[in-house]
């Protein structure tokens, strides 16, 4: 029988853990583990440090620190093999260990997710290939939640849009292929955007390669009966959304504190130091990074393992206060319950529940403090200024009116990332800045933040995040179906889509929102609207004033093709036909029709937590309206405007070499 699609996240987690532990077991005896920095965090998603210990891991080092010692004969490297520079580092460290160690080391290298030709070559050139035992750990997607899989790659955004590196696409294809190999082909692949198209092509190609592969025996080229479709969204069809400040609780934590691999590092002055007994579940459930000096930060786990957080994460931040209040009151009354306990039995019941109460209590304390701290930010003058500008731009007022505010923010030394987000947002929504304005802002930024930001600005331009508008709106995509094919548009036309897909919802019920727009307090993310074009046609029709060419049985992009022409990049639908039609029909008939089907939504280039909240919201709405569909969110990584800017902004200044 086909494996259960709902348990995919669990399966991936188990498989990754088993494979890693199996590899570690294969290296006999005690060993030191050297992990690449980009893997340390992700590892915590499927394995606990204590388990590594059980499998003979003595000390853990970070590759980038280069401080691996010779305290164990066995040394195991666990490193991403796709980046030649990392491979180079590994090669050099191995050489060093061999040269100056008094011990003769047994060295194993585990390449994640695969052993590459380039890594072979680099190790060979370094003269160490013959001395090391090479293994591979094929992990691609890591589950962040049961409905969310991520490649957890930090650099994807820059790889895709700055360096045009095909790496993330290839890995995404591999990851999706693993799902197809287990559950059958995606019966339909829908997509929007250039990279989405490339990814779909890679998937088709991978299927062909697999057909030719003598080793792939389990694989059958049958469409899955439990998966409905795959929807691929290229981030660059909608750059505006991540540039806006997310206003869900989780989104805001990510914007202001930063969440990585389901964990946030919060100043312990805000949430208090980690209590002792929680150490198991909290801070040390992951391999502690070798440098333990950061005594002022405390790691907190932010995922559905904390039921309180699960309630809060997707809510608009404005409602967090009341929410927390309600929970506090309920907890209190639960505690009070002990006074009403009659007889031993009820008392025992109460005592049994105590640990849960305590846990909830602790979590409540953390989130109250954290929310309090966030409110300090959201009440600040600059934050509100920023938000106002964002919402005005998103709502389509002439951005020129916002320029004065932005200039003032520059003069007031607001963080550069804030300024750049606003300018990039304007560029995205309006199809670029007027050249004169752009030049002026460039100059102001260089003056205010230093000339080294020439590099920052150039990078943004390469990424098409911050651009001059060439002439009026020639670069914008044509409006709806009217545009002939010859008109070449290369940018998403927000002005048109704002109406066509009702991106702005001015009034909504805060307590019980009807529309995804609540995640940005009134702006419905375009990326999500595009997904709704497939999944919630009737709902979008109800927002749209004039009737769309829709029937109740429309599938795919039907009804929205014209509107989507105003979004950058190709819109496509591919049906994956079985090699054996008859067998597939029989299989489909056997599977029956009553079961719910899963829709995979893949965000290439990253997804924001606000968008995640919106997709989950859609999922709930669909269930409420009786649609038997589930959404599984896939992405290359979680991003936010903050992380995008962090990745682009030049860190060293012109005097870095002198002061260093």
């Amino acid at each position: 029988m086909a494996p259960n699609i709902d348990k995919e996240a669990e399966h991936i987690r188990d498989k990754a853990r088993k494979e890693l532990l199996g590899l570690l077991e294969g290296v006999r005896g005690k060993k030191n583990l050297v992990i690449g920095k980009d893997l340390t965090g992700g590892l915590g998603l499927f394995v606990q440090f204590s388990q590594l210990k059980e499998y003979g891991v003595d000390k853990v080092f970070e590759l980038e620190n280069g401080n691996t010692d010779s305290s164990q004969r066995n040394i195991v490297y666990l490193v991403h093999g796709e980046k030649p520079s990392l491979v180079q580092t590994v090669a050099e460290q191995i050489k060093k260990l061999q040269k100056n160690g008094s011990v003769e080391h047994e060295i194993s290298v585990i390449w994640v997710p695969r052993r590459t030709l380039v890594s072979n070559k680099i190790l060979e050139d370094a003269g160490v290939l013959g001395d090391v035992n090479i293994l591979e750990l094929p992990i691609f997607f890591l589950p962040l939640e049961d409905d969310m899989l991520s490649l957890e790659m930090d650099e994807t955004f820059n790889d895709l849009y700055l360096r045009h590196d095909p790496g993330p696409l290839y890995l995404a294809a591999k990851a999706l292929m693993q799902i197809q190999q287990r559950h059958g082909l995606f019966p339909r692949i829908l997509g929007k955007g250039d990279n989405a198209r490339k990814l779909a092509n890679l998937l088709l190609r991978a299927r062909k390669e697999l057909d030719a592969d003598e080793a792939a025996t389990q694989y059958t080229s049958m469409p899955s009966t439990s998966i409905e479709q795959l929807i691929i969204i290229d981030r660059d069809v909608d750059f505006a959304t991540p540039l806006l400040t997310q206003l869900t609780y989780e989104g805001l934590i990510d914007e202001l504190v930063g969440i990585k691999h389901n964990r946030a590092e919060v100043d312990s002055s805000i949430i208090g130091a980690a209590p002792q007994q929680r150490s198991q579940a909290g801070s040390s459930s992951t391999p502690p990074p070798p440098a333990v000096r950061q005594g002022f930060k405390r790691k907190i786990q932010l995922d559905s393992s904390d039921p309180l957080y699960e309630q809060l994460r997707s809510a608009n931040f404005a409602l967090i206060g009341p929410h927390l209040n309600k929970i506090a009151r309920r907890l209190e009354s639960d505690y009070e319950g002990r006074h009403h306990a009659r007889g031993i039995n009820e008392l025992r019941e109460f005592v049994n529940k105590l640990p849960t109460f305590q846990q909830e209590h602790q979590s409540l304390a953390i989130h109250t403090n954290l929310a309090d701290d966030l409110i300090k930010h959201t009440r600040s003058d600059t934050f509100n200024r920023e938000l106002e500008v964002q919402q005005n731009i998103a709502a389509g007022t002439d951005p020129i009116y916002q320029h004065e505010t932005i200039e003032e923010l520059i003069a007031r030394d607001a963080p550069l990332s804030t300024i750049l987000r606003l300018l990039c947002l304007e560029s995205a929504v309006a199809g670029g800045l007027r050249p004169k304005d752009l030049d002026s802002f460039r100059r102001q930024i260089l003056h205010a933040y230093g000339f080294h930001h020439l590099l920052t600005l150039d990078a943004l331009e390469t990424m098409e995040l911050l651009q001059p508008r060439s002439s009026a709106s020639a670069l914008l995509l044509p409006v709806g179906g009217g545009g002939s094919q010859s008109e070449k548009g290369t940018k998403t036309n927000y002005a048109y889509l704002r109406k066509g897909l009702r991106l702005i919802i001015d009034e909504y019920n805060e307590q019980d929102p009807e529309d995804v727009a609540y995640v940005y307090s009134g702006y419905a993310p375009l990326s999500i609207r595009i997904v709704q074009c497939v999944l919630q046609k009737q709902y979008l029709q109800s927002l749209h004033k004039s009737p769309l060419p829709l029937t109740s049985s429309s599938t795919g992009w039907t009804g929205f093709e014209d509107i989507l022409k105003s979004v950058k990049g190709p819109t496509f639908t591919l049906a994956q036909k079985p090699t054996d039609e008859k067998a597939a029909k029989v299989k489909a008939a056997l599977a029956g029709t009553g079961v719910s089907k899963t829709v995979f939504v893949m965000f290439l280039g990253g997804i924001t937590f606000a968008e995640v909240a919106a997709l989950r919201f859609i999922g709930r709405k669909m269930t409420e309206s009786g649609q038997r569909r589930k959404i599984v969110i896939c992405t290359t990584g979680v991003i936010s405007g903050r992380s995008i800017m962090d990745g682009v902004i030049e860190k060293s200044n012109l005097a870095s070499g002198i002061t260093a």
């Binding site: 590196d165 592969d213 002198i658």
Partner: protein
């Protein structure tokens, strides 16, 4: 019916039966002097490798090629191939489980022959093998250990990726004999070697050489049982000891009474030991019971997992313990249910009613009897006996009400396969036990290696195994052997393999390429959908551009990068850059990797592509790493020079900014010299920050100079001043500025910033200057400064009774009186 005696060749040793059966007869040319040959046989009844020992004198025969060869035969004596061997004396000749022939020379080179037809891959043992010379070798299913003349031991545990490892150094002294325990059977899961040195045995693994403290040596032979649990030791005085391989227990002893040491000692299965002299064999069973066999000629012993093959010129025999089911059925006087079942078949054929009587008698044990008959059929070599046993089983199960026939069906299928490959024309005489361990897949692989394609395909279809590898092997042979022209071969191959799943055209193309038929290889490769397979071969074939295109098509960054590395090594720089310039993906990869590793290449790339801005950015990055101001400035100047020739607006903008940057750096350097307060260096700060710091430290004039030098806009200038002065708490200067009539940023920022810094008095002085505010806002502003009365006045002016009343709550003492007064002012009018 046959008269074949099922007990032919049975011998009882102790309480166990052993059987020696002849598999094939007249296998070798009688002229072949087997005694002069080194013979090694592959496990699981596999091929035999014969190599003429040059140390022995050979009779000269005309017509025989003088070239030394290693000859590979099947068990039935069918010559499979000759491998030319001109690489000197052989110190080790052995086979792996997958029929790779390993030939080890004295200098430590291992030739690993795969596929039985002379294709090989050499590798070197290293670790001083060349210097000291290899003395001998021992093999196990997928590895080998070599003993050097200095007693060093080198182990190789995989032939796919051979990685020779030095084991712990054993002590010096003559090694009388040695053997190994395969890794699968040791506690440490790595190979252990037993060395007979002096009077004892040393056990050597990767970390230590441990003396087992025996004193009855020297041991002339050491041999380990197939399951690794026992060792047989042959002492100088002609005795055989069987001990546990951990040397804790001694199980049996046998005195051969022989004056000469046997040539070989092997295990036959796991419970008996075979001593072989040239023409005599002693088989020692448990408890020291033995049986002797005599031959006319030299006999070679080839051990296997469940018995041994005995090879002479005349025959190939198999000697093994009679498997339990066979013994159960056929033992003389056996009264087991299975035996009765077999008897009843004969009775049935005679239409005797006793048949049914028998069946009824054994009915309670009938299921076991059926099973035993099925098993026995599997172990039986004689086909008519197999049939009879199966017939008995069939009869038995027909009497049973509920019986799953799966086992019966499977056995019938297995036997068909076994009998097919045991045919002398194929010569794979494999026992049922061996077949189970070898697996059908690997048996098929052996057939393919013997180029028995038709049989391989028929059997695969019969067993529902994939056919692709057979086709690929066939096609590769076709490509190698055929003399037809390229296109017609390709057409034949493609035609035959069309629509078949899992066909690796890469393997076929590689075969073609190795034959020197590159054109054919290229055209075959076009049928290979897997880029990962295409690309490396294309690179080998020097089809670089195609390789790069295919790699890009695949979207696999590793492949693309791999090709690029190769190309970069091969091509001159200009040509390399030209190649990638038309391929954006490749160019992007080169660019991002060169950014880390090879900046000079990047400069060339930008120069060639005429991208001055990028070129200048590189220099800016370098500038940021320079340790001295002058060096930074020099780099920036270089960058500016790159930009001067173009009229591209971006370049112009960059040029201007960089010129400004140098100017700023020079000024900052001067500030650093003049100002030595604790605020740190000015170098690298932005203009706004520079002005801010200057003002805050009290150097407003210098700040003003910076402002005019860089034409900082008034608004910015005012904001910076305001922030810096409040940050430095230079209230005097703030007041001074407050005397201005107008401010380009309005006066509210002054109020806010000063208030934020806690100076309510000064903050309040700006309230009056803020125009365009609602009274309510002003009231709020006054209140924030703690000036309730002023706020009251504002409210009075606006005639706002409500505001006044709310102010009353905040007021105290004198303020309260004032507010009351104002309230009363408003009241009468009402």
């Amino acid at each position: 019916m046959t008269n074949h005696n099922p007990r032919a060749g049975w011998e009882k040793i102790g309480d166990q039966f052993y059987q020696k059966i002849q598999l094939y007869e007249s296998i070798f040319d009688p002229d072949l002097e087997l005694e002069n040959y080194l013979v090694a046989g592959a496990p699981y009844g596999g091929a035999l490798a014969l190599w003429r020992d040059p140390a022995k004198i050979a009779r000269y025969r005309t017509g025989q090629s003088a070239k030394p060869t290693i000859d590979i035969y099947s068990s039935s004596g069918k010559l499979i191939s000759n491998i030319n061997w001109e690489k000197g004396p052989i110190k080790g000749l052995g086979w792996s489980d997958d029929e790779k022939l390993l030939v080890v020379t004295e200098d430590g080179t291992v030739h690993c022959y795969f596929g039985l037809h002379g294709d090989f891959q050499p590798f070197s043992l290293g670790h001083g093998a060349e210097e000291f010379g290899v003395k001998s070798c021992r093999f196990w299913s997928h590895g080998l250990v070599a003993l050097l003349s200095n007693n060093a031991l080198i182990a190789v545990s995989s032939f796919d990726e051979p990685r020779p490892r030095l084991l712990a150094q054993p002590p010096d002294g003559e090694v009388h004999s040695w053997s190994l325990i395969p890794p699968a059977y040791t506690l440490s899961r790595s190979v252990e070697v037993l060395l007979a040195i002096d009077k004892t045995i040393f056990v050597v693994d990767a970390t230590e050489a441990e003396d087992r403290g025996l004193s009855d040596g020297p041991f002339k032979h050491v041999s380990v049982s197939p399951n690794g649990r026992f060792a047989a030791l042959f002492t100088e005085d002609g005795k055989v000891w069987v001990v546990g391989s951990d040397f804790q227990n001694k199980y049996s002893e046998y005195d051969s009474k022989a004056k000469t040491t046997p040539t070989q000692t092997h295990w036959c299965g796991n419970d008996s030991v075979l001593l072989a002299w040239e023409d005599e064999i002693h088989m020692v069973g448990p408890n020291g019971a033995a049986v002797k066999y005599y031959y006319d000629d030299q006999v070679h012993v080839v051990p296997d997992i469940d018995g041994v093959r005995l090879i002479t010129n005349e025959a190939c025999e198999f000697l093994h313990k009679v498997p339990d089911p066979l013994e159960d059925v056929f033992k003389l006087g056996s009264s087991s249910a299975a035996s009765v079942l077999l008897d009843s078949i004969e009775l049935l054929e005679k239409k005797s009613p006793k048949a049914d009587e028998n069946i009824q008698r054994i009915k309670p044990n009938l299921p076991e009897a059926v099973e035993t008959c099925i098993q026995a059929a599997g172990y039986e070599f004689n086909q008519s006996l197999q049939k009879q046993l199966l017939r008995a089983a069939s009869f038995g199960k027909s009497v049973l009400d509920l019986y799953s026939s799966d086992e019966f069906v499977d056995m019938c299928e297995d036997l068909r396969v076994l009998n097919a490959v045991r045919d002398y024309r194929i010569g794979l005489y494999i026992s049922y036990e061996q077949y189970l361990r070898l697996t059908p897949e690997r048996l098929i692989a052996r057939l393919v290696d013997r180029r028995e394609y038709l049989l391989a395909i028929k059997l695969s279809e019969f067993l529902h195994l994939p056919l692709n590898k057979i086709y690929v092997h066939w096609a590769s042979q076709k490509v190698k052997a055929s003399s037809a022209d390229d296109d017609s071969i390709r057409d034949i191959v493609v035609e035959r393999l069309r629509g078949k799943p899992g066909i690796s055209f890469e393997t076929i193309a590689r075969a073609a390429y190795n034959e020197g038929r590159s054109h054919l290889a290229t055209s075959l490769l076009n049928h290979e959908p897997r880029a990962g397979k295409q690309v490396p071969l294309l690179l080998n074939m020097e089809e670089d551009e195609i390789a790069l295109d295919k790699a890009i098509e695949s979207g696999d960054p590793d492949l693309i990068f791999f090709v690029l590395l190769e190309l970069k090594k091969k091509l001159p720089l200009a040509a390399f850059l030209r190649t990638i310039s038309s391929k954006p993906v490749a160019a992007a990869l080169v660019e991002s990797s060169a950014r880390i590793e090879d900046r000079e290449l990047l400069k060339d790339l930008y120069y060639q592509d005429d991208r001055p801005v990028q070129g200048s950015n590189l220099l800016v990055e370098e500038a940021m790493q320079q340790p001295q101001v002058q060096a930074v400035i020099d780099k920036l100047k270089l960058a500016v020079r790159l930009l001067t020739d173009t009229k591209d607006p971006t370049a112009v903008l960059h040029g201007r900014a960089l010129t400004e940057a140098t100017q700023l750096l020079k000024m900052q350097e001067a500030f650093d010299k003049d100002i030595t307060d604790s605020s740190g260096s000015y170098l690298g700060l932005g203009i706004n920050e520079t002005m801010f710091r200057l003002i805050k430290s009290g150097y407003s004039k210098r700040a003003a100079k910076v402002q005019s030098e860089f034409k900082v806009p008034e608004k910015t200038w005012w904001w910076v001043r305001l922030r810096a002065l409040t940050a430095g708490r230079l209230w005097g200067e703030v007041e001074e500025i407050g005397k201005n009539k107008k401010s380009p940023i309005g006066w509210e920022p002054f109020y806010n910033e000063v208030l934020g810094a806690g100076n309510t008095r000064l903050a309040s002085s700006f309230i009056a200057k803020c125009g365009g505010l609602q009274p309510a806002e002003r009231i709020e502003m006054w209140v924030k400064c703690g000036m309730v009365v002023k706020a009251g006045e504002e409210a009075l002016r606006a005639k706002d009774t409500n505001a006044l009343e709310s102010l009353r709550d905040k007021a105290n003492g004198q303020q309260l009186v004032e507010i009351e007064r104002m309230l009363s002012h408003l009241r009468p009018k009402r």
